[in-house]
């Protein structure tokens, strides 16, 4: 397979979408992919983008990806990216693109021109909103699709829709869970507490966390032994909303909700998932199945999710969770109340979630399938 690389290690280069990698993306699927290629398959793995910080040292979460390199464009212009590809194409065996952005048409064309044998994986991370706007019959876009060896969608509904529409093969490659620090994933329902958990950028408009607070406010008196926990960096606007909503308008609610802030230590974060019986996701949209869903499933949380494109995948078609129409606070409150009052449902959900997670959300398995799709062989 890599006879053309000579003494050189095979390599995979992952390009950042638009303006470079954020630190937090290193410990999500974006960082897990090159790390697994490095750790499991012996690849040289490089994450490329514009440096978003004052110095590269500020990518502190790179410590979770030992052996993965970072490299940087001179600036964020398309010209700089194409020039980078021109200079490095000879040493890139697999090029990974995240999202589908107009600049990729030039990047893909240049890469294939300079290294026709090279492989391209485009992880579209597509959602129905961006999907609908894409003028896919635009010839350069069609050419780009034709040049990609593997095109992935991270949830089943988007895979199906894209497959029906774009003239290319589309693979289901979900954003599964990967344990960067060999965390002990064994868990037991008996250690769980009456906690509804959410994790993410708390207060961002996409995550729509206000909906969860408002729904919990409607039911918390009926489930007095339950608490709501929100983990993640919190926006100023959300803090204002929280203080106004809880302190002034619903003072009894304040002590039932904890805003934990950001937890970057993966062991500590997993411990929080293990404690929670329910994981709630209120996003208005997501690229597919978000990373937090894999984490929650591996830890046996019963999932309650808004109807994002990947909602059916998140709850395994209702076997380990329930969905509600985004924006419908009453429906969310009803889902939460029903689950909180049904111990058998949660326990069964726990078993289903663990089994489903190991089968379908194990990112090492997802990447093993990607490897097979790229090279038509099992690495082992």
């Amino acid at each position: 397979m890599f006879s053309n690389t000579g003494d050189r290690k095979p390599s995979i280069f992952c390009l950042a979408p638009l303006n470079g990698w954020d630190n937090y993306q290193l410990v999500k699927n974006c960082g897990a992919l090159p790390y697994i290629f490095h750790k499991e398959y012996g690849f040289r793995s490089v994450m490329v983008g514009v440096c978003r910080y004052a110095s590269p040292e500020e990518y502190t979460l790179l410590k979770y990806l030992p052996g993965v390199e970072m490299d940087f464009y001179t600036d964020s212009s398309v010209e700089a990216k194409v020039k980078y590809i021109e200079q490095h194409a000879w040493e890139i065996d697999v090029l990974v693109l995240h999202g589908f952005w107009p600049e990729y048409t030039s990047i893909v064309a240049k890469y294939k021109e300079c290294n026709p044998q090279g492989k391209i994986y485009m992880e579209t991370d597509i959602n129905s909103h961006s999907f609908d706007r894409e003028q896919w019959s635009y010839p350069p876009f069609l050419q780009m699709l034709a040049n990609c060896d593997v095109i992935g969608a991270s949830c089943r509904s988007m895979q199906k829709a894209v497959s029906q529409k774009w003239p290319c093969r589309v693979e289901y490659l979900p954003n599964g869970f990967f344990s960067f620090t060999d965390i002990d994933l064994s868990t037991n329902y008996n250690v769980k507490e009456n906690i509804i958990l959410t994790v993410g950028r708390i207060g961002s408009s996409q995550k729509n966390n206000e909906e969860l607070i408002k729904a919990f406010a409607k039911i918390y008196k009926k489930i007095p032994d339950w608490k709501l926990q929100l983990i993640g960096p919190t926006t100023e606007d959300f803090t204002k909303f929280f203080n106004q909503f809880c302190l002034k308008n619903n003072p009894g609610l304040f002590h039932k909700i904890s805003l934990t802030g950001s937890i970057t230590d993966k062991n500590e974060l997993m411990a929080q998932y293990k404690r929670a019986k329910i994981f709630a996701l209120t996003s208005t949209f997501e690229g597919g199945t978000p990373n937090v869903i894999g984490e929650a499933l591996f830890n046996g949380c019963y999932i309650i999710s808004s109807e994002i494109d990947g909602a059916s995948d998140a709850v395994n078609n209702g076997l380990c969770g329930k969905t509600y129409p985004s924006g419908n606070i009453d429906a969310l409150a009803n889902c939460l109340l029903t689950a909180c009052q049904d111990e058998a449902l949660l326990q069964n959900g726990f078993d289903q979630a663990i089994s489903y997670a190991h089968k379908k959300m194990d990112f090492k398995k997802v990447i093993a399938r990607l490897y097979y799709l790229l090279f038509q062989e099992d690495h082992n």
Partner: protein, 331 residues
């Protein structure tokens, strides 16, 4: 006519009969398999706003329809026609049977062109239809004498102006004969027509009665189609379909008898099937078949990597065969 809010972001056209609902479904981005985006974003003074592409196009057509007792029926039929266009990115052949002067032909032509330049709307009328629009082909003849081609149109529309003047009982069998399997027959009927008589002429008809009028919306199932159709597909496409079907059927015994370690050749064969299907896809009525072949390949790779068992492969294979039989694409 009213507007309703679609999800969190869109306004769409909805009509008082269920044609609005059909269009609403077509407006769901996941159901829009045409090459025309449902919406696009614009920016003015740093503010993003959503514009609705189809909505604007449909409005342009509808505003050209003069208000009359027939206009509601015509609009309903048009909305259904547009929801057909959104189902798949392939050229559609429509046949509109009706006698009134159509001021809205030109904007309708633009809309058809936008979806696919190969879309064709054949206009069967006993009156002169002046049209220089490339997507609209006038056929001026006595409707009862028109030699309907077999299995040619994706959708035939008989508007209510025709129903008043045409012996509908003899027309319906001819039109059914001219529709491809899983094509549509739309009839704009007024209350003056005998709906039950019309329904009895169709084996499967769903009727949506409201005060002023009804539209009969009938799927032409393969069973009906096979009774009366002779295939008219081009030889090359038919041959490619036959080979593809044979290859899919030949897979079955191999799937069961091959050990995981020897699956590589089988997976290569299915990948080739997928590639062949990409070329055939525009000629197929089923929208799911490409997805289902991919699903089969996915289960095979998981079996090869020993992540899953044979049951998953068999389930995926059965779903694929069911889809092939259901739409009759490979009959």
């Amino acid at each position: 006519m009213e507007k309703i809010i679609y999800k969190n972001c869109s306004y769409i056209l909805i009509h008082e009969d269920n044609s609005g609902q059909l269009l609403l479904n077509a407006f769901d981005p996941l159901n829009n398999h045409s090459s025309v985006p449902m919406h696009y974003m614009t920016e003015k003074n740093g503010q993003l706003s959503t514009q609705f592409y189809w909505f604007d196009m449909i409005q342009t057509v509808i505003k050209e329809i003069p208000p009359s007792e027939n206009s509601t029926v015509i609009i309903s039929l048009l909305l259904r026609l547009i929801s057909c266009l959104a189902k798949k990115a392939r050229p559609f052949n429509f046949l509109w049977i009706g006698n009134e002067m159509k001021q809205w032909l030109s904007p309708l032509n633009s809309l058809l062109q936008e979806f696919n330049s190969a879309n064709r709307l054949y206009w069967l009328s006993e009156q002169t239809i002046p049209s220089s629009a490339p997507s609209i082909i006038p056929i001026q003849t006595k409707i009862t004498e028109y030699p309907f081609p077999a299995q040619f149109y994706d959708c035939v529309i008989i508007d209510n102006t025709s129903i008043k003047t045409i012996p509908i009982g003899s027309l319906i069998p001819k039109t059914i004969n001219s529709i491809v399997p899983f094509g549509k027959l739309l009839i704009g009927a007024t209350q003056n027509n005998s709906i039950s008589k019309l329904q009895s002429l169709l084996e499967t008809a769903a009727i949506f009665p409201i005060d002023k009028f009804s539209v009969i919306d009938s799927d032409i199932t393969p069973t009906i189609a096979q009774k009366i159709f002779a295939t008219t597909k081009t030889f090359e496409v038919q041959q490619a379909k036959t080979i593809l079907k044979e290859n899919i059927l030949a897979l079955k015994p191999l799937l069961d008898s091959t050990s995981p370690n020897d699956y590589d050749n089988l997976i290569t064969a299915v990948t080739k099937l997928e590639n062949d299907l990409l070329l055939l896809y525009p000629y197929l009525i089923s929208s799911d078949i490409k997805f289902l072949v991919n699903r089969l390949k996915e289960t095979m790779i998981e079996y090869r990597l020993e992540f899953d068992d044979l049951d998953q492969i068999n389930n995926a294979y059965t779903a694929l065969i069911d889809e092939m039989q259901r739409f009759g694409d490979f009959n």
